[in-house]
Structure formats: C-alpha cells, structure tokens
C-alpha cells in the first residue's frame, strides 16, 4: 500500500513535470523576431580612392610631370539608426598623413540630423564634393580662392534638415574660422563663424544659396555669398556656381587640384 502510494505520488510528480515542460510547446508559436525588434548591428564602412596624374604646361620646355596625387580613405561607423561617426584621412607625397574629417553624427529622424567635430563646410556644390566625383580635374578658381584653400574643413557643429517628402533642405552650422590645416597654436583667435545653405531639388540635382560670415585666423572680416546649380537634361549635366565676398582671398595663380 505504501509502495503503491509512493508510486502514485511519483507518477503525479512526473506527470506534472511533463506538463510544465510541455507547456511552451502547447502554447501558440512565438512570432519570428522582426527587423525592428532586433538591435541594429554596428556597421563599418571603408571607402577611398587613389589618383595618379601626368601633366604639363605649354611652352615651359620642361618634361612631363608625374604625380601620385593622393590617397583618400573614409571610415564610417553606424552604431545604430541614430548614432554614426566618420573620418577622412588623406595621404600625398607632400603631406603623407592628414586627418581632414573626424565627426560624430546624430540622426534624430529621417528629416533631421546634427553633426559635430571637424568636417567639410556645407557651402555650395563643389566644396562638399569629393574630388573623386568632380567632372573636371581641378576645382574652379572661385571655389579654390574663396573656400577650398581657405575654409574647407573646420571644427564646429551643424544641423541638417532634409524632409524626404519635401523638395528642399537646409544646413546651418557654427564653426571656429580656423582652417583644419592651419597651425592653431599661432592663431590669435577662434571665432564663431556661421555657415548656411538652403537647397531646392531640381531634376538631377539641386539649386542652392549659401552664406558664410565671421572672422578669419587674423581677425579679418570674412564674407562669402554664393549660388549653386546642379541639374541634368537629356544626356547633359549642367553645373554652375558663383561667389562674391571679401577677406582672406588667395591669389588666383594658386591652382587647386584637390
């Protein structure tokens, strides 16, 4: 009797254990995890390009010049759908290693993002464009003289508003007025300069207006105002840009092939 009672208890406990173990299998199957419910994996991206050039000037009676122009490498890490960071490193025979961009970026939503660090100024069409995407070998003289050899990469922060459903975008930033390749130890001041651009989408590109205002490394007044156009029609691409301004203009004999 005692033995049968113990066997009965053992049976009840075993049955209860089986029921507990079988419960998950008897319940409704769990839905597969959706992409939104999964944590976004950290994504690393490395891109770059290298350029080699052979060139000459007419009538100088000198042999052709061969240059290994530069190596540019961009690094970008997307921590999640909001947080990113990037860096641009350049190398050339003149300057073997140079960090041109190093920034952090926060994307609030599809419309709005902010960037802080050292970055290419959001002014006009040609300045923010990588030289690997230029149609011509060299940048235009007006962009070179006003911007590229002056205020190309600066430290600061900017916000970018580009709603996908609307045909326009706006950039607004505050920067220090010190070119990234400038020896900051000798700089007498670090300004809070303002740079802004408004763009409107057109077929194949945008039309935009840009402005930059503030003080330069030697406290001189800086002003630049410009327009830019990028559009396509049929098989043609039209690019145009104009800038007027004053302060810290480089001589026009300086070329810019970057």
């Amino acid at each position: 009797m005692t033995a049968s009672l113990s066997a009965c208890r053992l049976f009840i406990w075993a049955a209860a254990l089986l029921v507990v173990l079988a419960l998950p299998a008897m319940s409704e199957p769990a839905p597969p995890p959706t992409a939104a419910s999964l944590p976004t994996p950290v994504k690393w991206t490395v891109n770059g390009y290298v350029q080699a050039r052979i060139s000459d000037t007419t009538g100088d009676h000198k042999p052709l010049v061969f240059d290994a122009k530069r190596l540019y490498i961009t690094f970008r890490v997307d921590v999640d759908q909001h947080i990113s960071a990037g860096a641009l490193v350049s190398g050339s025979p003149v300057n073997p290693f140079n960090i041109l961009e190093a920034y952090g970026e926060y994307r609030f939503n599809q419309d709005f993002k902010a960037r802080a660090g050292e970055y290419r100024l959001p002014f006009g069409y040609e300045l923010p464009l990588s030289s690997s995407r230029l149609i011509t070998l060299e940048r235009s003289q007006v962009v070179t003289a006003f911007l590229y050899k002056n205020f190309n990469f600066e430290r600061g922060a900017y916000v970018y508003y580009a709603p996908p459903k609307l045909p326009y975008n706006i950039s607004l930033g505050v920067v220090d007025g010190i070119p990234v390749d400038y020896a900051t130890s000798s700089s007498s001041q670090s300004a809070k300069n303002v740079v802004a651009r408004a763009g409107y989408n057109v077929p194949g590109g945008q039309i935009g207006i840009s402005a930059y205002a503030g003080k330069g490394p030697q406290a001189q007044l800086l002003q630049r105002t410009g327009y830019d156009v990028e559009t396509t029609f049929s098989d043609f691409t039209l690019l145009s840009e104009g800038i007027i301004g004053r302060g810290r203009v480089i001589p026009h004999s300086d070329r810019c092939d970057q």
Partner: protein, 102 residues
C-alpha cells in the same frame, strides 16, 4: 601687384592672402549618352580677386574627356587655356589622371 591688393601675410602657413572684395563663377557642361562610358565636358571659369581694382581678371577655358572604364576606374584627359590679366606669363595646362576607387 602688392599695391593693388591689401595683403595679409600668414607667416605660419607661409602664404599671402588678399584682404579684398572678390567675385567669380564657373559653368560646366558635360555630355554622357546613356549606356556609354565617355563623358566630354567643357568649363568656363572666371575669377576677379579684387573688384576695386581695374584690369584684373582670371579666365580659364577647360575642355576634357572622362572615360569611365568601370565603376571603380576612371581616366581623365584635360586641357586648359588660361588668360590671367595680372600675370600674363601663366601658361596653359594639360594633363591626364587615372583614378581607382575602392
């Protein structure tokens, strides 16, 4: 030339800048028929480094051709005719560039 431009000498960067009013613009027109790898282009480029001084101009006329070998390789040949009012000895330029992207 120094009398025409109020200059700023940046001893640290060993460069001279003009503290002047200036203006300039460029227009580039490129043609690439869909499905082809060749892209001829022309550009007119001008710049005036001091609009308060007379006779200064820098005009550059560019003609070139891009050959997109594939998505990662590009060959460019280009010629530039330069007219520099402040420096008539500036020579015209021609060159070729090979670019590899990754």
């Amino acid at each position: 030339m120094g009398a025409l431009f109020p200059t700023l000498t940046d001893a640290t960067n060993k460069a001279t800048y003009f503290d002047s009013r200036a203006k300039g613009m460029y227009v580039t027109l490129a043609y690439q028929k869909k499905g082809t790898a060749y892209q001829p282009y022309v550009r007119y480029d001008n710049f005036n480094p001091n609009t308060d001084a007379a006779g200064l101009y820098y005009n550059r006329y560019t003609a070139g051709l891009n050959y997109y070998i594939n998505n990662n390789n590009k060959l460019t040949v280009e010629y530039e005719k330069i007219k520099d009012g402040a420096n008539p000895t500036v020579k015209n330029f021609y060159g070729a560039q090979y670019q590899v992207s990754f």
